[in-house]
Subunit: 301 residues, 4 copies
Amino acid sequence: MSTIAFIGLGNMGGPMALNLVKAGHTVRVFDLNEQAVHELAEQGAIPCHTSCGAVAGAEVAITMLPAGVHVRSLYLGQGEERGLLAKAAADTLLIDCSTIDAASALAVSDAANQAGLAFVDAPVSGGTAGAAAGTLTFICGGSDAGFARAKPILADMGANIFHAGGPGAGQVAKICNNMLLSVLMIGTSEALQLGRDHGLDPAVLSEIMKVSSGGNWTLEKYNPCPDVMANVPASNGYQGGFMVDLMSKDLGLAMETAGQSRSATPMGALATSLYRQHARRGNGKRDFSSIFETFGQDQSE
Amino acid sequence: MSTIAFIGLGNMGGPMALNLVKAGHTVRVFDLNEQAVHELAEQGAIPCHTSCGAVAGAEVAITMLPAGVHVRSLYLGQGEERGLLAKAAADTLLIDCSTIDAASALAVSDAANQAGLAFVDAPVSGGTAGAAAGTLTFICGGSDAGFARAKPILADMGANIFHAGGPGAGQVAKICNNMLLSVLMIGTSEALQLGRDHGLDPAVLSEIMKVSSGGNWTLEKYNPCPDVMANVPASNGYQGGFMVDLMSKDLGLAMETAGQSRSATPMGALATSLYRQHARRGNGKRDFSSIFETFGQDQSE
Amino acid sequence: MSTIAFIGLGNMGGPMALNLVKAGHTVRVFDLNEQAVHELAEQGAIPCHTSCGAVAGAEVAITMLPAGVHVRSLYLGQGEERGLLAKAAADTLLIDCSTIDAASALAVSDAANQAGLAFVDAPVSGGTAGAAAGTLTFICGGSDAGFARAKPILADMGANIFHAGGPGAGQVAKICNNMLLSVLMIGTSEALQLGRDHGLDPAVLSEIMKVSSGGNWTLEKYNPCPDVMANVPASNGYQGGFMVDLMSKDLGLAMETAGQSRSATPMGALATSLYRQHARRGNGKRDFSSIFETFGQDQSE
Amino acid sequence: MSTIAFIGLGNMGGPMALNLVKAGHTVRVFDLNEQAVHELAEQGAIPCHTSCGAVAGAEVAITMLPAGVHVRSLYLGQGEERGLLAKAAADTLLIDCSTIDAASALAVSDAANQAGLAFVDAPVSGGTAGAAAGTLTFICGGSDAGFARAKPILADMGANIFHAGGPGAGQVAKICNNMLLSVLMIGTSEALQLGRDHGLDPAVLSEIMKVSSGGNWTLEKYNPCPDVMANVPASNGYQGGFMVDLMSKDLGLAMETAGQSRSATPMGALATSLYRQHARRGNGKRDFSSIFETFGQDQSE
């Protein structure tokens, strides 16, 4: 069992930290939101008043923050204030579970390495349900040694732990996957609606495509057409699940990453615009499979 | 065992008819190409000089033709010449295995019904390899009774036989599936190249996405990146497989079908244009996964 | 002055026929809608009870019908009923002003030529306002001789008469133009909204782009952003103008035409899907510049 | 006449600075490339060894640099080194003519204002030919007072000087315009090729669309189809003009800007991917109208 600092106790970070407590680790927690710290403390974590305080004496530091700017600021410092890298003990393993741009992940990783510290970028997927259940997927970037140290810790919070490559590769792999997911979701939606427009039963069409060359994760697990599949957001008014705003955020990171390498992503770029249009019409808090509605029945006839 | 007329003995129809012969049926074959008729006759089929001759005395007539215009002409007649519907015996079951536009399939089906004949549209997927091996997939449209009669015959040529719905539904379901396939292929290609542009190993990225929410048939069976998967066209110079020209034809049918219902298919429409651009650059005879190359390494640096 | 048969007296055809009457021609009119025939008769046209009756004794026959299927049926006949081509006098000039698919225009033109009749396809733009004012644009396809005969007649109904090329070229040129127009409208809309999202005044941005390399017809004549330009639909709740349903119809023809030649039209295809999505949300009867709204302000913040 | 510091003497900056010399200003020049400084000095400019040296005693400082990172670094300093803002005299007017991301322009503008200095972002269009001829277009962002001071100086280098709005608005307006330009170019290309695929003469089709609702800058000034228009890159092997790599850079800025505001730009995003694919096939140094070739004749037939 390790002493682990956990910084960032939001909807995802809170239950993740709790799973580490349950696994028997000593978990030192910090968040700007004192209430979140208090709640974790009641369940066995050690409350800390600053991120530095949390890291003091920890073998591993895990961060779960909203965006690259927060990660850079926390690790690298800002203005006069020095960051975690300047304060962490010599052999602390640093694991950032935030989903951020690859450039920020690389910048922090480089600075960590210069400070003699191992850094692993380990963005997650699986949502708040996976965080609570400890069944998250972690997609990691970093050295083999860093990954080897991180893996058993991450295994206390997740079911699948992948090593995508060197520093930043976790972030790149995650946004590649999520960009592809957005394409699967929209492509599946328009195929189902095209069939429906010609009188096909979307449940029958889904079954056929699922076992044919159109087969994909959305048909297996997350059918976007209402009432085709039980227990998915589409059959529950598109509530819950993975919000349009979060998909839109990930697509923004994908476009940024593609911009850095001048990569052509016509499908991903189209998905980005369609999701942004959808969000702007007031659907940001609904599940991302609600994009299906934008292909809906012709109301003009 | 039945007496079956088989009309259209091309790259697909030839081996399909042969599998019916091997299954013990009496198969009466016709094609405008006499050589094709001759070859089937040498393997046990009964050669016929006209489509009418083939259909005479047959309980089932199967057609495998290039496009809707040929199917309409054969069944409905053209100019002064009457078609198969006017000549087939009262309870002949008609099965068209061509991939054609749904409107043509509906028109022939309606005319067949008026003539008191059962008609099933049953487009196939699986390519020439599947035709030879008898492992094709048939996606059928038509009445329950028609499908029930067709299924055991089709089972002698294929491994999966689906009933998508009423008349024309087989054609609609097939083009929905193939439109979605084109989107999966392009979306997967651009995601893999985006990762590669940032230093990831496409094989590692493929493994991760395959078991994540980006999972789809192309990652399972048909990875478009060279040397990630053995025994796929991408690892064989994009030879063999499913030609760009055939995907382009199917996407044309999808766009036509979408036009009839004014369905919005932004991803499918983009795939259509990208495949047409690819075909026009001289790639029509290569496998459709060669679209991966269009996202390739930056040559300007 | 000529004797002219005019068939099809709808929102466009009615005022066009009236302008021929006003120009001094003898105009023999027919429409399935008797009321429309009656109204024209009150203004000086000769009412006819059938299309054949209208054409009898006419030097020129002009048709203005909804779609290719009507044009084919009228000229070529249907079933047992013979069409106009079989009934028109030897040197009647046939002018079809309908906007239809190029294949139908070609088929009718070919049949007319075989019957020894000159046929000109002459689709119009300019809307009902242009029809009433006699300021329509005609884009013609046909022989030089046919065009030379048609031009002075068309000049009595329009301000611009173009000769795009041989048979069918009028239809092709019109849908090329309208496909491009849809791209201009959407491209301009998203550029204006992008500027607005960053605090720019859309009127100022419009002025700059209008005289720069972004200059195009929509910025000159038809700004899609409300209150930038007076007397355009955008400043009148997107009422009037050119309906989304009509743009959607023209884009359908463009996609059909592109399908015949396997032409890649990525921008046009995207516009087609965006307009269909827009129409399906209940905007079919609004002006086509209302597509601007789909890029609107973020409602989630 | 003013004393003007000019920093950045590349293909654009060199001839711009020379025009200021010719107009009678005292021009203090600096570039990291000593040869560029030497050449300007031979034509009457005052050579300086550092950017600070150039700015010393200048009433106006003009910068023309490759990207936002250079502009930030020069004005704001980097690491221990202080930037221009810390060294410029109290009432120096700062004009940045670089084309950079709006966020960098805003950051420098804010810092300048805090330092009590007026800053105008004034990206140019018109290319090296316009720079030499003094016919550039400047699109400016900044306060009314700043713009009023900048305008007469810019008029010595250009023909059109626009005031798009407050700080950063020049950059936003320029990328909005150039994003729209890319859409016009591709939309026009595909419309012309669609017509050509159906036998139309692209010159005739261009003439028709130019005066119809498809009219746009590319048809007026920069037809992408070879031999339609004299003296454009398309009629000269797509040499000269505005390089694909530069359009690709501007589209990258547009996508970045759209990402910041989560603006939907489906046409602009598609253009971005199509230009990146084009660049990756080795066309980066050719004129941007060469995108026309990607819609070209079907080579498979």
